[in-house]
């Protein structure tokens, strides 16, 4: 095995082992979005109607969004492990090893990606209860979407965390970014029906494409507008992940801070 992969996989494995040895983190990332989904969904009930999804209640409309939210929270907060590693000294030990910086970033991103992926996929268990039916193709597509979304969001989290040295600082920054990101992602209300300026903002939000792709994938069989949006949205997410990952590697490769 190449040194690059050996190092990356090692970091990845550590990340996953740590996550599941801290059970409260698993619950912590899962519960808040689920509560929001259940209360809002039950609250709005049938008094809500989205274009292209007439007849679906709010619980059903919001369902792809809640998967995206769980992935968002898990992925972004997995990046906090990087800050903890920096604070505790673990990262120093990794940084003085001959592993390339790109391998370190890759291992860290894989770690968060798999956490986000597993948590997101866990939520699929709820699908039958709101009447969503899967085919083999739609399941494969949904898994691919959740994976792509986790990767992009984790890379974004790692990028934000690379230069941050306190967990509380990271929280402050991420609250500032995450709040508009999840409110304006199309998870809560459809992109199409909003004001024009908001529509533009939502189109600039990478999470919008994750929600859109997921929602489409659930109804891909129908062949309607909602379903057709899936593939283009996936490409946007892939592009987002690739660009952010490359930018993070470049940042990590810059000579160490001199001040």
């Amino acid at each position: 095995m190449s040194r690059f992969l050996l190092g990356s996989i090692s970091l990845w494995k550590r990340e996953v082992v740590r996550f599941y040895r801290q059970r409260n983190r698993v619950i912590g990332a899962l519960m808040p979005p689920l509560f929001i989904w259940f209360f809002l969904g039950s609250g709005f009930g049938k008094s809500f109607s989205a274009p292209g999804m007439e007849g679906a209640g709010y619980l059903e409309f919001f369902y792809p969004g809640v998967i995206a939210l769980v992935v968002l929270f898990t992925s972004i907060y997995s990046a906090m492990s990087l800050i903890e590693d920096r604070r505790d000294g673990y990262l120093q030990g990794v940084l003085v090893s001959p592993m390339p910086r790109s391998a370190i970033i890759f291992g860290k991103v894989l770690g968060g990606t798999s956490q986000g992926f597993v948590q997101g996929v866990l939520l699929l268990i709820l699908a039958p209860f709101i009447g969503i039916e899967f085919t083999l193709a739609s399941v494969a597509l949904i898994l691919a979407i959740i994976l792509t979304l986790s990767f992009g969001l984790t890379a974004f989290g790692i990028m934000m965390a690379w230069r941050t040295d306190s967990v509380s600082g990271f929280h402050a920054i991420m609250n500032f970014i995450l709040m508009p990101m999840w409110l304006l992602s199309g998870a809560f209300f459809p992109v199409g029906g909003s004001a024009v300026w908001l529509n533009v903002v939502m189109r600039l939000n990478p999470l919008t494409y994750g929600v859109e792709a997921l929602r489409g994938a659930f109804y891909a069989e129908a062949g309607n507008a909602v379903g057709l949006a899936t593939l283009p949205a996936m490409f946007v997410m892939l592009g987002f992940g690739a660009v952010i990952f490359a930018a993070t590697v470049m940042m990590a490769n810059r000579p160490v801070r001199t001040s």
């Binding site: 095995m1 040194r3 050996l6 190092g7 996989i9 090692s10 970091l11 494995k13 550590r14 082992v17 740590r18 040895r21 801290q22 505790d88 000294g89 673990y90 120093q92 030990g93 990794v94 940084l95 003085v96 090893s97 001959p98 592993m99 390339p100 000579p255 160490v256 801070r257 001199t258 001040s259």
Partner: protein, 316 residues
């Protein structure tokens, strides 16, 4: 390793480092020869942490350069990293993982894998007397064991040069002595070069060669014995219940350099062996003990810088 035996293990050439306006290192040059135990000694704020970060490839100096076995720490950083084992002040072990898991990960970061890695992990655990704790989570180990565990991690890729940054900070005296015994043993078994930073003078005494660092500059570069011989005086220490009176008497009668310190009265005098008899006669019945010794590295440091090595300077 394929390096020439005459090549320095570590060399610093005119290293200068500035944090904004503050100069942490000023034209620091030193040569660490292969196989030596080299100490970088200085109080907090003397610049030794900055020097350590530069040598371990984690920081880019403002000016000057450093090499490890001929490879530049900046231009050939990944080569340098392969040749170095580094023990930091902070633990590089993950408390949530077992010691063995930690070592396996660490070896993988250095490109080791498979059976070769497992064998080396077991060998290192054995050499550092940790085999029976290998399956315990690191957070349950004592400070001394953790230090040895870090050392084990750093030895897996068999580096020719070991860098230790204040390795005994936070350890109790027993663990501290134990750690140094381990270092001495490993050095003999693996014929490594070891470079250690410390502000503890008894640790400095163990080194073959020292660089005394003060306010970012090297104020002395020699073996502990050479540094002491340079002082030109011996130290006579008198333990007594009336130190102030004795100091005044010594000053009045002999004109020697005398003062009180933690132990009682401290007298600096040339050829102490010829003088101690007279002091014993003179103060008979007024002291608990009287001892003659060579100056310590502490004394050397004080004489060269005017500050005690365990006093903090400004900043870290």
């Amino acid at each position: 390793m394929s390096s020439l035996p005459t090549e320095p293990a570590v060399e610093a050439r005119n290293l200068t480092h500035k944090y904004g306006d503050r100069t942490a290192l000023r034209k620091v040059s030193m040569v660490v020869s292969q196989g030596s135990l080299f100490g970088i000694v200085g109080p907090n704020g003397s610049g030794k942490s900055t020097l350590f970060r530069i040598l371990s490839t984690l920081q880019k100096p403002t000016d000057g350069s450093a090499t490890v076995l001929g490879s530049d720490t900046l231009a050939a950083s990944s080569l340098v990293r392969q040749k170095l084992g580094v023990v930091f002040q902070n633990s590089i072990l993950d408390g949530k993982l077992t010691l063995r898991e930690n070592l396996l990960h660490h070896g993988q970061y250095y490109g080791l894998g498979g059976r070769r890695l497992r064998e080396r992990v077991d060998a290192a655990l054995g050499q550092l007397r940790l085999a029976d704790r290998a399956k315990d989570k690191v957070e349950t180990l004592s400070g001394g064991m953790r230090r040895r565990g870090e050392l084990a991690g750093c030895l897996l890729h068999e580096p020719p040069v070991l860098l230790l940054d204040e390795p005994t900070v936070g350890l109790d005296p027993v663990a501290r002595r134990d750690f140094w015994d381990t270092i001495t043993r490993i050095r003999a078994e693996r014929s490594m070069t070891i470079l250690v930073t410390t502000h503890l003078m008894d640790e400095a005494e163990r080194c073959d060669r020292l660089a005394l660092l003060h306010q970012g500059e090297v104020v002395a570069l020699a073996s502990p014995d050479e540094l002491k011989a340079d002082m030109g005086f011996d130290v006579i220490t008198i333990r007594t219940t009336q130190p102030d009176a004795l100091v005044n008497e010594v000053k009045a009668a002999y004109g020697w350099n005398a003062r009180t310190d933690d132990h009682g009265v401290r007298i600096e005098v040339e050829a102490g062996h010829a003088q101690i008899g007279g002091l014993i006669e003179r103060f008979e019945g007024r002291f608990e003990s009287i001892t003659l010794s060579k100056p310590s590295i502490e004394d050397v440091f004080f004489l060269r810088t005017g500050v005690k090595s365990d006093e903090s300077g400004d900043g870290a």
